[in-house]
């Protein structure tokens, strides 16, 4: 599979179809990290294994990477959903991009998300590497199991939980920087004239930050769980993302990135949206 990947990328670079391949490279200790291959002989650096965590779509909106020229990008089935959202939000031009789909084995990358994964093979890739694993039907209960368990707590317990968790937030913004959909050139958290969100890593500042981060991704987050994986404080940001994803699915029958035809739900509206909570 890795060979097939390398050959494909070599061909793309040789033919001049793309100038750069955004993929995974070999790191020490069997780790992988994002790599940018611009010379065909460097395709040997590319790997595909169960430690290819990063959602590389995050690089598609970065000036340093855009400057490298037309790109081919490696995506897993979950990462691919980010491309759908990015395209709907006019951040990428799909016709200028070669998508190399990487089909996951049953275990995927062994992250919690892989357990609830329905579709391990990218669907809209130009080339797909690996065997097309079958789809595993999942119910909403499977998708939101972690959230469901969390919501069994009382509101006070939930608040207490976030107080302990967010007390560890150092405001490194790794959760934002790694997110393929946090592409704003100026994040509202960095706005300092006037300050909108306290920049201090205090509970006040960290609550405001996470409420903002999660909400700005409401109806947009594709559930790659990268934010949660990279948080050095081990804060389970996934619960916040899941709660908005569930709200989007329950209220608007919408799941970000899973349907190329579906229009985004934020920035849009229906006259029939529910309003029983409004007086």
């Amino acid at each position: 599979m890795q060979n097939e990947l390398r050959q494909t990328c070599r061909r793309l670079l040789e033919e001049g179809t793309v100038q750069v391949v955004i993929g995974y490279g070999d790191g020490t200790d069997g780790q992988t990290f994002p790599t940018f291959v611009t010379r065909r002989d460097d395709v040997e650096r590319l790997v595909w294994n169960e430690r290819c965590y990063t959602n590389l779509a995050t690089y598609l909106t970065r000036p340093e990477i855009l400057a490298l020229g037309k790109a081919a990008i490696c995506v897993k089935a979950c990462d691919e959903r980010a491309l759908v959202v990015l395209e709907k939000e006019s951040q990428i031009d799909r016709s200028q991009l070669v998508v190399i789909g990487l089909a996951c084995s049953t275990d995927g990358v062994k992250q919690p998300k892989c357990e609830a994964c329905e579709n391990r093979t990218p669907r809209w890739a130009n080339v797909t590497i690996g065997d097309a694993a079958g789809e595993t039907a999942k119910t909403t209960a499977d998708r939101y199991a972690a959230l469901q368990a969390f919501m069994q707590k009382t509101p006070d317990e939930r608040m207490a939980y976030w107080k302990t968790e967010l007390a560890r937030c150092v405001k490194c913004y790794a959760c934002r920087q790694v997110c393929p959909l946090c592409y704003c050139r100026q994040c509202i958290a960095d706005k300092n004239r006037p300050v909108v969100i306290s920049t201090s890593a205090t509970l006040k500042g960290s609550f405001a930050w996470q409420i903002t981060r999660a909400f700005h991704l409401g109806g947009r987050c594709i559930g790659c769980d990268e934010c949660t994986r990279v948080c050095p404080a081990g804060i389970d940001l996934r619960l916040l993302n899941l709660s908005l994803a569930r709200a989007a699915e329950e209220n608007f029958n919408f799941r970000a990135g899973v349907d190329v035809e579906a229009e985004p739900i934020v920035g849009a509206y229906s006259e029939r949206d529910r309003e029983e909570f409004i007086r």
Binding site: Y59, T164, V170, V178, V195, A201, P232, D236
Partner: protein, 346 residues
């Protein structure tokens, strides 16, 4: 002949300290209340009981010890508007005694390095106060991972610098005790016994780069293309700086409203785009490569030139915590090994 302490005797001491109102800080498992399957890191933190401490010498906490001396948010003073007057209120100086138990030698070694900065053109009162109030017991690392490189920056798993006491595990129940300072000796006074057994020195991580080669590159390679090629994947977050024991950049912020507020010192990180952004909109370091170059220069050239010390203890936190496995190690390893020719190539 050497001093030894049993695990039991150490834990007993810890319980006494906690009971006496002292703040005991050490590596412990951070436990979120829900079983989400997310990997839970080990972090240094204040413990409520001795049993929480992880003292095997195999832990690599995700954070560093600096936050117990230089907190991520520190109130400097408060202010209140009283008519046309402004009333200032001082912040209370720290007064709780802190005892760090089970620190890594590389985390402790960062503190004397930071002392230079916090006592340079200005003597930082709270930092120094906390240093005085703290006694540090470290445990020599019994294992290392692929991110550890203390030996490349002149340190080692048994480096006692910055520690008051260094423990070396003899077996699961006993430690050899190496007193480094009088303060350390006082801390464990009466808890140790003299025995005829020495711990075997633990294995040290292999050298990852030659400091001489790195310095050579830094001296002449300001415009080298490696800055860009090695750092392309950097996302520009603060995970490396905020978990680094030696990074110390901060920002002074005012937080308040029409009635009053506070002035605080918050951590800041050189990899953020906002870090050097001028009010005019101009940014002298306008991409990640330039920010990374600054970071490496600061750690391995500027700080050593100014204070005679490397601003890195090789702890590996920056790479371990980096979302994309970069950190300082990957960059310095690559540039130290870069071919010497084309020094002036753009």
């Amino acid at each position: 002949m050497s001093e030894t302490i049993t695990r039991g005797a150490l834990l007993q001491r810890v319980s006494v300290w906690i009971g006496g109102g002292k703040s005991v800080i050490g590596p412990r498992q951070v436990k979120p209340a829900n079983g989400s399957g997310q990997e839970v890191p080990v972090q240094y933190g204040r413990v409520a009981s001795a049993e929480e401490l992880l003292l095997s010498g195999d832990t690599r906490p995700a954070n560093s010890l600096k936050e117990f001396f230089f907190p991520r948010h520190e109130k400097l003073y408060g202010y209140q508007f009283k008519g046309r007057q402004i009333e200032l209120t001082d912040t209370e100086q720290p007064s709780t005694e802190q005892i760090i138990v089970g620190g890594r030698p590389c985390d402790a070694a960062a503190l004397p390095v930071l002392d230079h900065l916090f006592n340079w053109d200005y003597r930082d009162e709270t930092f120094n106060r906390r240093r005085e109030l703290t006694t540090i017991v470290t445990i020599a690392c019994r294992s290392f991972d692929s991110h550890c490189f203390c030996t490349s920056v002149g340190s080692s798993p048994v480096d006692a610098r910055g520690s008051d006491v260094l423990l070396l595990a003899v077996d699961a129940e006993r430690y050899e005790v190496r007193f480094v300072t009088e303060k350390g000796r006082r801390l464990l006074n009466g808890a140790t016994t003299t025995a005829n057994e020495n711990a075997t020195e633990p294995a040290a991580p292999p050298k990852r780069f030659e400091m001489e080669q790195l310095k050579e590159f830094l001296a002449g390679g300001y415009e080298r293309p490696e800055w860009k090629t090695t750092t392309l994947r950097c996302l520009g977050c603060g995970a490396c700086a905020y978990t680094c024991p030696t990074c110390h950049c901060f920002d002074i912020v005012d937080e308040g409203n029409a009635a009053g507020g506070l002035r605080a010192r918050n951590w800041d990180a050189c990899q953020f785009g906002l870090f050097t952004l001028h009010a005019s909109g101009h940014n002298p370091r306008h991409n990640q490569a330039e920010r990374q170059r600054q970071r490496i220069h600061h750690k391995f050239q500027i700080y050593p030139d100014k204070f005679g010390e490397t601003l890195c203890t090789g702890c590996g936190n920056c790479t371990r915590n980096c979302p994309v496995g970069l950190g300082v190690l990957s960059v310095v390893e690559a540039i130290a090994a870069a071919p010497r020719e084309n020094q002036s190539q753009k």
